[in-house]
């Protein structure tokens, strides 16, 4: 059994010490944490609930409480696994912080229109398969046509979105072309967000 004396310590210290003691256990074991206030007991209870650890607490005196964690074989590993699983959902590993892709037209490069459209479709497809993804893709002016119903790139953009990339289309542009109700992927944005995205981006990619 491990004893943690966290009396006289303010939150988050009791919780941090308890967590460290539990994680240091090899396999199963009991961690007993002493604290001097009810609020600390409540924060320890939250730790137990979130990590699915068995815990009971008791009041020993006016300002003395004891929380007893009974950790089963594999409990710590299960909690770590659950936390890791959650993290992959929230933050895809591949998303590169603050790289911005700007699509300002419905074709890539100047020149032949059908070639330009094929190139752009290919670009977005290839982008969806790269390891290091951008944080956000902005579509404005004729770029707005790429995110609406009937565009060849919708599936690839949805795949990018599912991987955590933000797809944003300029609202003014959708309005101007009368295609607002046809938006098929991502969200609508405004000039403030566009400016902020560009000024804060570490790298801007304009195909």
């Amino acid at each position: 059994m491990v004893t943690v004396d966290a009396r006289g310590q303010q939150c988050p210290i009791p919780v941090i010490w308890a967590k460290e003691a539990i994680e240091k256990l090899t396999g199963s074991g009991v961690v007993m944490v002493f604290v001097d206030n009810e609020i600390a007991v409540q924060n320890l209870t939250k730790l137990a609930q979130q990590k699915k650890y068995k815990m009971r607490s008791e009041k020993l005196g006016e300002s003395e409480f004891r929380a007893i964690f009974t950790i089963g074989e594999g409990d710590v590993a299960a909690a770590a696994e659950a936390a890791a699983a959650e993290k992959t959902i929230c933050y895809p590993d591949g998303v590169k912080e603050n790289t911005l892709v700007v699509i300002k037209n419905d074709m890539m490069g100047d020149g032949d229109e059908s070639l330009g459209k094929t190139l752009l479709k290919g670009f977005i497809f290839a982008l969806s398969k790269t390891e290091i993804l951008p944080k956000r893709i902005l579509f404005y002016n004729r770029g707005a046509f790429v995110t609406i119903e009937g565009s060849d790139s919708i599936d690839d953009l949805k795949s990018l979105e599912a991987q955590g990339v933000e797809i944003m289309t300029c609202g003014t542009c959708l309005n101007h072309y009368g295609i607002t109700d046809k938006l098929a992927v991502g969200s609508v944005t405004n000039m403030y967000v566009i400016v902020e995205s560009m000024t804060q981006a570490v790298k801007i990619i304009k195909p």
């Binding site: 988050p12 919780v15 941090i16 600390a40 939250k46 979130q50 936390a83 405004n190 967000v193």
Partner: protein, 343 residues
């Protein structure tokens, strides 16, 4: 030798050092209340500041706030404490005029530290368009600093905190997570980037958000401080209306989420949960987000209830200030539970 000038951290700094709202209410209930027709906002309504009418078109707004340090740099602490104290004037819709320093300082500590704190405070009072007129200092075990502020306002333009209407959109003008990040910093677990963002947010005067809200129909306004978003929202709803929040639209400093998941959480946050938790229904809200919603803020943003047709205009203007902000939900007709947090 910058390190020597660091202030010693207190047990809990900033607005986390507030007494719990429940405890406070029990004490205040027993204090007999005077009556004066010119007292437009007093302590019966748990508002941000007191408003006293002097003439038909002039009232004074009074407030004070002080607390122990939550950052190591004294000048920064001075700026934060002052921005926090000045904020109540803006939450009422007023204009800052004069301020007095409130100081607790250990006799044996290096006085240049106090000098820097006061300099930081003065810097914010000037930025607010006010003037420091004096102060009071006490020898104490730990450092505490803040301001007593007087502002002016038109008696009919007072923004109370508890008069929002069903249909109003709720706008928050600064990101949440300040308490969690400063707590993580206290145990050396906060990243430099997170702390820099928290400081940038704390030293920013709510003056600019208040100006951005001028011209739109603001029905009620408060600032989010020690009682956390849900605590202050509860005061705003005042059991007369209810609210639905959409957590995906609620701005917070990114790192606060991971820190909350690592249980870098405060006692004050748990006190807030105890006080208002039973009034809130969380519909599939991640644990870290719950913690962020209860997190005590120091010098937090304004929480404004705005007429729905004005909400987008107001948000665009606030977004220009470069802080995380958002339309976080709406006020609805009275029902149980008082606050629903959903996707």
């Amino acid at each position: 030798m910058k390190d020597e000038k660091n202030i010693v951290f207190c047990r809990s700094g900033g607005c986390s050092a507030k007494l719990g709202a429940g405890t406070l209410r029990r004490v205040l209930e027993k204090i007999p209340q005077g009556h004066d027709d010119n007292l437009l906002v007093g302590f019966s309504s748990s508002d941000d500041a007191a408003v006293y009418r002097l003439t038909e078109d002039l009232a004074i707004v009074q407030t004070l706030d002080f607390f122990p340090p939550m950052v190591k740099d004294p000048y920064t602490f001075g700026q934060i404490a002052a921005a926090n104290a000045l904020s109540d004037i803006y939450a009422m819709g007023g204009e800052v005029k004069t301020a007095l320093n409130i100081v607790c300082f250990p006799e044996k500590m290096d006085l240049t530290i106090l000098g820097e704190i006061l300099l930081g405070g003065n810097n914010k009072v000037c930025e607010a368009g006010g003037i420091l007129t004096g102060g009071h200092s006490i020898a104490d075990d730990g450092v505490k600093y803040g301001l007593s502020v007087t502002g002016i306002i038109h008696p009919e333009k007072v923004l109370k905190n508890n008069v929002c209407r069903a249909g109003d959109k709720l706008i928050l003008t600064k990101p949440l997570g300040i308490g969690i990040i400063t707590t993580a910093d206290r145990v050396d677990k906060a990243s430099k980037k997170a702390m820099a963002q928290a400081i940038k947010s704390m030293i920013m005067l709510n003056k600019y958000a208040a100006e951005a809200l001028r011209g739109v129909a603001v029905h009620a306004c408060t600032d989010v401080t020690g009682f956390g978003l849900l605590g202050h929202l509860t005061e705003m709803l005042d059991t007369k209306v209810a609210a639905v929040l959409h957590y995906e639209n609620i701005p917070y400093i990114e790192e606060a989420y991971a820190y909350a998941d690592d249980f870098l959480i405060t006692g004050a946050g748990q006190k807030n949960r105890n006080f208002v938790g039973d009034k809130v229904h969380f519909d599939n809200v991640p644990f870290a987000m719950e913690e962020i919603l209860f997190d005590p803020q120091t010098s937090g943003g304004l929480l404004a209830a705005v007429a729905p047709e004005d909400a987008e205009t107001a948000l665009s203007a606030i977004r220009e200030l470069g802080m995380g902000c958002g339309i976080i939900g709406e006020v609805v007709a009275k029902k149980q539970p008082l606050i629903i947090v959903e996707k």
